[in-house]
């Protein structure tokens, strides 16, 4: 990592450091080292990172570099360090000590620091009755606290943050100016005397005069109440996770009938009573990012209210990450449901007035403060991949956003490109200074308020990174809101990228796969995405790389009678799949009672005539159909992939683990594109249902069979399209059983498997892929697509 240029006998050195080195206490760390070693020189932030000037010998430099790599602040990460020998002239201004110089205008970095969970030192102070910040809910230091969510503009400096209206008190100034202090140059330093304050409000906006707002909030929660809590990146709604009535009430207020809710625990020890936690998972939970982590419930362990996560085999768990959360969870000393505070169809509330308006009908009490939230950031959701113990991001949010990845080798790094991402689970992505910078999760752009909030976020990023796009990239779907917006803006050329090509490129990109690397095979198992020639894709084998792909395999396309309604009502795809498999749905009513009251003749007519029944090779819809066949949410789903999640939960059930049964998914050689036959397994499934096999076993046989079928097809196309790596991408790869089965089977064929980790496999990852495809397709500034 550290690479030193030839060392001469010059007057000293100029050291260029790149990486996560701003807003993380890096300069104070350099200052302390230089002081300790008695070196003269200075340090300052530049647009590229940090520059250190040292009047020293080659030997001293070497010792300094070694010490620096050992003593890095927790949040700092050095990507490259390069020391160039300089003459005395270049050291002009260096005195008889070591100084921190302020950055020159125009030299600021474009690195945006991420929000960081309360560090152990601050946490200790929070609960130390003798500390001056005892129980102060906004304590932070150079190692921890809000950053991205509080920054208005760069450079990272108090006057350009949401703290600009708070003047530091004498004590805080002293800490800020003392290089020996943990709060030296802590831009958002604050204390009880000078910083933000906390208060309680009733839903009608009355401020409650209580000694201890946190204790009062706790009491309300103990009584089964719902609390609106102003957090770091937005408001939370919370309630007692052990109180079924409270959780149900929260669900009905939020109009969120079933989607799993995240739970915050007071401590790891508490969490372990409910969930299984591996050592690696423990590390993720305690990391400065403190994301929501999906965990297995502990068998025979304590259980939460049953409506916390009714469909899912996993629990979303996290630990307190701000002093305020610590105080609340400490007071409550039990698990709390913590979900984003917003009206249905609206983005998470960040503003006090909006909270009063939107959440008044939901919350019994408001725990408010007067530190503004500049930038909305939802909590991040991650899981650990079992085989590799690698962290996989499912929703890029607080602590993990913005996601910044170096452009893979071969990519020119001077293009100003903005990729708008997919409409659902939206993120967007910019190419800045050799990095791809991906935004935090924005939500569903087809919700107008979310779309407007995403628009503001894009403007915010454009200002933060001083970025004016020269090319806009969007999906190919003509009815995507993002596509329409891109095409409506006259200022900028637009490039449209196929949805699953973007999924594939996204995974390649996060692995740093070189631009001109050998072709790979992308297995894109997804919901529905707009394919070539107006087809609906979603179960594709794509061969190629960033610049182009060829569709070499897919699932047999099956009709979606009723279009989007078929996605919301899985019984429709069940009917379509049965008909496609040559089975008369009317003859299966004893097996699928859900179909009894359904207009089967009309649906068949729609399919036969192609009336609003587009064909789709979507894998997600096949999962929906099988889920419907097993009685999981056949009537309708209340959130994306609900039926498929329930199907996976059946397949993961321990009672099915020992069964090795696999349904048949033979492939059919095609001239341009081979198909996976999705008819045969229905006959096997029906035979199994008739013979009384359990749903768990059937669900598992489907998962295992489908992954085997896909791998067989992939190996078949390999004869004509050679590859040594496969990419596993698309929203269906959130299904643990499928992705693990695919990975295992490919690895046993000695094929390298590239899975998503830093960037989600679901549509949140699409923006990165779009960006890279665009950069690969038009490498010249300006592009060829006017």
């Amino acid at each position: 990592m550290i690479d030193t240029a030839e060392k001469g006998s010059e007057a000293g050195y100029r050291v260029h450091v790149r990486g996560h080195v701003q807003g993380v206490g890096f300069r104070p760390c350099v200052w302390r080292l230089a002081q300790a070693m008695g070196l003269c020189g200075d340090v300052c932030n530049t647009s590229a990172g940090v520059e250190i000037r040292l009047r020293c010998s080659a030997g001293e430099l070497e010792r300094f570099e070694r010490a620096l790599s050992r003593k890095l602040p927790p949040q700092a990460r050095i990507e490259s360090l390069y020391a160039e020998p300089v003459s005395a002239v270049d050291l002009a201004g260096v005195g008889q000590d070591f100084a921190i110089r302020s950055s020159k205008p125009g030299e600021e970095s474009t690195w945006v620091p991420q929000d960081t969970a309360t560090c152990p030192e601050c946490l200790a102070e929070l609960f130390d009755p003798h500390n001056r910040r005892y129980r102060y809910p906004f304590t932070n230091c150079t190692h921890c606290g809000p950053r991205f969510s509080l920054i208005e503009a760069l450079p990272y400096d108090r006057k350009l943050t949401g703290m600009s209206s708070f003047d530091l008190c004498r004590d805080c100034i002293e800490e800020y100016s003392d290089p020996e202090d943990r709060r030296f140059h802590a831009q958002i330093n604050a204390c009880e005397k000078c910083g933000p304050r906390l208060w309680l409000e009733s839903p009608d906006g009355t401020v409650l005069t209580v000694d201890d707002p946190v204790a009062k909030a706790r009491d309300q929660l103990l009584e089964g109440g719902i609390l609106a809590l102003k957090g770091l990146g937005g408001f939370h709604l919370c309630c007692d996770a052990g109180n079924e009535a409270a959780v149900m009430r929260l669900r009905s207020c939020k109009q969120r009938p079933a989607k799993a809710l995240a739970v915050m625990f007071p401590s790891l020890a508490h969490m372990e009573e409910f969930a299984l936690i591996s050592p690696e998972e423990r590390r993720v939970l305690l990391s400065p990012q403190a994301p929501i982590l999906l965990l297995r419930p502990r068998p025979q362990g304590k259980s939460l209210a049953s409506s916390v996560a009714p469909d899912s085999a996993r629990l979303g768990c996290f630990l307190p990450y701000t002093p305020l959360h610590h105080l609340l969870l400490d007071a409550f000393s039990g698990p709390l449901v913590m979900t984003s505070g917003n009206g249905s169809g609206l983005p998470q509330v960040i503003d006090n007035d909006a909270a009063r308006q939107q959440l008044a009908g939901m919350a019994d009490l408001f725990l408010m403060h007067n530190r503004p939230i500049v930038c909305r950031v939802d909590d991040a959701v991650v899981r650990l991949q079992r085989a590799s113990a690698q962290m996989e991001v499912l929703r890029p949010g607080r602590g993990l956003a913005p996601v910044s990845l170096p452009l893979p080798p071969g990519f020119a790094n001077d293009r100003k490109v903005m990729a708008l991402g997919a409409d659902l689970k939206n993120t967007f992505c910019l190419a800045v200074d050799g990095q791809a910078v991906m935004s935090q999760y924005q939500g569903n752009l087809q919700q107008l308020a979310v779309n407007e909030s995403a628009l503001l976020a894009r403007q915010h990023f454009a200002e933060l990174y001083r970025f004016e796009p020269r090319l806009i990239v969007c999906d190919q779907h003509p009815a995507y809101v993002s596509t329409q917006m891109a095409l409506a803006s006259p200022e900028c050329p637009v490039l449209q990228v196929q949805h699953h090509h973007a999924h594939l490129a996204s995974c390649l990109g996060q692995h740093g796969y070189p631009l001109h690397g050998r072709p790979v095979l992308g297995i894109c198992l997804d919901g529905t995405g707009y394919g070539d020639n107006g087809q609906l894709w979603g179960g594709e084998l794509l061969y190629g790389g960033y610049a182009e792909v060829k569709r070499v395999g897919c699932l047999q396309p099956v009709a979606l009678p009723g279009g989007e309604n078929a996605i919301r009502e899985p019984w429709r795809v069940l009917v379509a799949q049965l008909l496609h498999a040559g089975i008369d749905p009317a003859a299966t009513l004893h097996l699928f009672p859900i179909l009894e009251d359904k207009p089967l003749v009309v649906i068949k007519g729609m399919i036969d005539q192609g009336f609003n029944s587009p064909l789709s090779s979507s894998a997600g819809r096949l999962f929906d159909a099988v889920a419907a066949a097993l009685g999981c949410y056949a009537e309708g789903i209340s959130y994306e992939a609900q039926a498929a999640v329930a199907l996976e939960t059946l397949a993961l059930d321990s009672s099915s683990q020992l069964m090795g049964r696999e349904y048949s998914f033979p492939f059919v050689q095609g001239t341009a594109c081979s198909h996976l036959d999705v008819r045969q397994h229905w006959h096997e499934l029906i035979a199994d249902l008739k013979s009384g096999r359990s749903k768990e076993e059937i669900a598992r046989a489907f998962h295992l069979g489908l992954s085997k079928g896909i791998v067989d097809l992939a190996l078949h196309v390999r004869q004509e399209f050679p590859y040594s790596s496969v990419v596993l991408s698309g929203g269906v790869m959130q299904n643990e059983l499928i992705v693990e089965q695919l990975a295992k089977r490919f690895e046993s064929e000695h094929i390298e498997v590239l899975r998503h980790q830093k960037v989600p496999c679901n549509d949140s990852g699409v923006s990165l892929g779009q960006l890279l495809v665009a950069l690969a397709q038009c490498p010249l500034e300006g592009g060829q697509h006017a």
């Binding site: 659902l424 107008l448 779907h477 009815a479 809101v481 979606l560 009723g562 279009g563 989007e564 549509d763």
Partner: protein, 346 residues
């Protein structure tokens, strides 16, 4: 070859050849049914009295439309009544009093004269109801396979009273959007009448003239900003036109939209949106908010406006879009009707 014509006679090319067969068809079917002195004169043109026209207003409204529909007959009307009401309504929503129609038939060889007669009777009844006179017409016969049974074109002339000025450009932020009745009845009826989807629902087209309702509305509220009949493309198309012309966003509220349960059922099963369904007797008006309630009350007194409702408003947002506040909360953009909408959910 016989010249007498009865309902079982099939139309042949001779009926369009300009000879005796054609004259027989015109006299037996068109003139007999329509009557009226202009047609009886059988000149090459209708001659309209200008003094009479100018006594009614200061501008002529003139419009034309061609009617092509499968099936030709459906609950609530046929292509003939449609061809009259469609053109009458195009005149009416401009604030005009409809007076005269022309009608031109393109007939495919082989259809029964009985069907043609029913269509013409449908036109006659509709014209009578709308108070308009068919004053000139034309008939062509095309060989089998070169047309689709019957196509009709009608043009209409009406007079706009002094002071009436309806323009989509006049929509102002805060104005209310009113629809005159339930949405999508016609579109759903046609889908069902086609019979190929085996839809079971008790449906009837809303095909009807709107000029009476319009006159009533203008009397109640002279400063109505704009009005359109929501035909092809449904009220979605109309609102997009309003938004584009005025430059302001339009917002609808899902729970205020009058949609009959039967129509809702058809939309739900087919996965289509009633806002995109054609109507043949519904208008959308944008009116100043302060008059909206009173106007609504008087509209509901009129048979064509019984189910009228305020369904939304013009927003103070200078962007040409249409948004729908959903029953669950949140708002979505309403698509411009544009063929089949492929699913956008991943």
């Amino acid at each position: 070859m016989t010249l007498s014509i009865n309902d079982h006679t099939l139309i042949t090319m001779a009926h369009g050849a300009g000879g005796r067969a054609m004259r027989c068809l015109i006299e037996e079917v068109f003139i007999n049914v329509f009557g009226g002195e202009q047609l009886l004169r059988m000149e090459d043109q209708a001659r309209l009295d200008m003094a009479q026209l100018s006594s009614l207003g200061d501008r002529l409204a003139y419009t034309t439309d061609s009617y092509v529909i499968d099936p030709l007959e459906f609950p609530g009307g046929n292509i003939g009544s449609l061809a009259v009401n469609g053109t009458v309504n195009d005149l009416a929503v401009g604030g005009a009093r409809p007076l005269y129609l022309s009608c031109a038939f393109i007939i495919e060889e082989g259809i029964e004269v009985g069907l043609l007669r029913r269509i013409v009777e449908g036109m006659r009844d509709a014209a009578l109801r709308a108070g308009v006179t068919v004053v000139t017409g034309d008939t062509k016969v095309v060989p089998r396979g070169k047309g689709d049974k019957v196509f009709i074109n009608t043009s209409g002339i009406g007079v706009i009273e002094h002071g009436v000025n309806l323009h989509a450009t006049q929509c102002q932020p805060g104005d209310k959007i009113i629809v005159s009745g339930s949405l999508g009845d016609h579109g759903a009826t046609i889908l069902q009448a086609r019979g190929d989807l085996a839809l079971e629902a008790d449906l009837q087209s809303d095909c009807q003239p709107l000029h009476g309702l319009v006159q009533l509305m203008l009397a109640e509220c002279p400063d109505i900003r704009a009005m359109r009949d929501a035909t092809r493309g449904g009220i979605a198309a109309v609102l997009h036109e309003f938004a584009t012309a005025s430059g302001f966003a339009m917002r609808l509220h899902e729970e205020m939209l009058p949609v009959k349960p039967e129509v809702r059922g058809v939309c739900e099963i087919l996965g289509l949106d009633a806002l995109h369904f054609a109507n043949e007797g519904r208008l959308v008006a944008v009116v100043p908010a302060k008059h909206a309630e009173a106007l609504l009350r008087s509209m509901r007194q009129h048979p064509a406006g019984q189910d009228a409702n305020i369904i939304g408003e013009v927003l103070d947002k200078a962007v040409a879009r249409v948004q729908v506040a959903t029953a669950l909360g949140g708002e979505r953009l309403l698509e411009m009707p544009d063929g089949e909408l492929l699913p956008r959910i991943c």
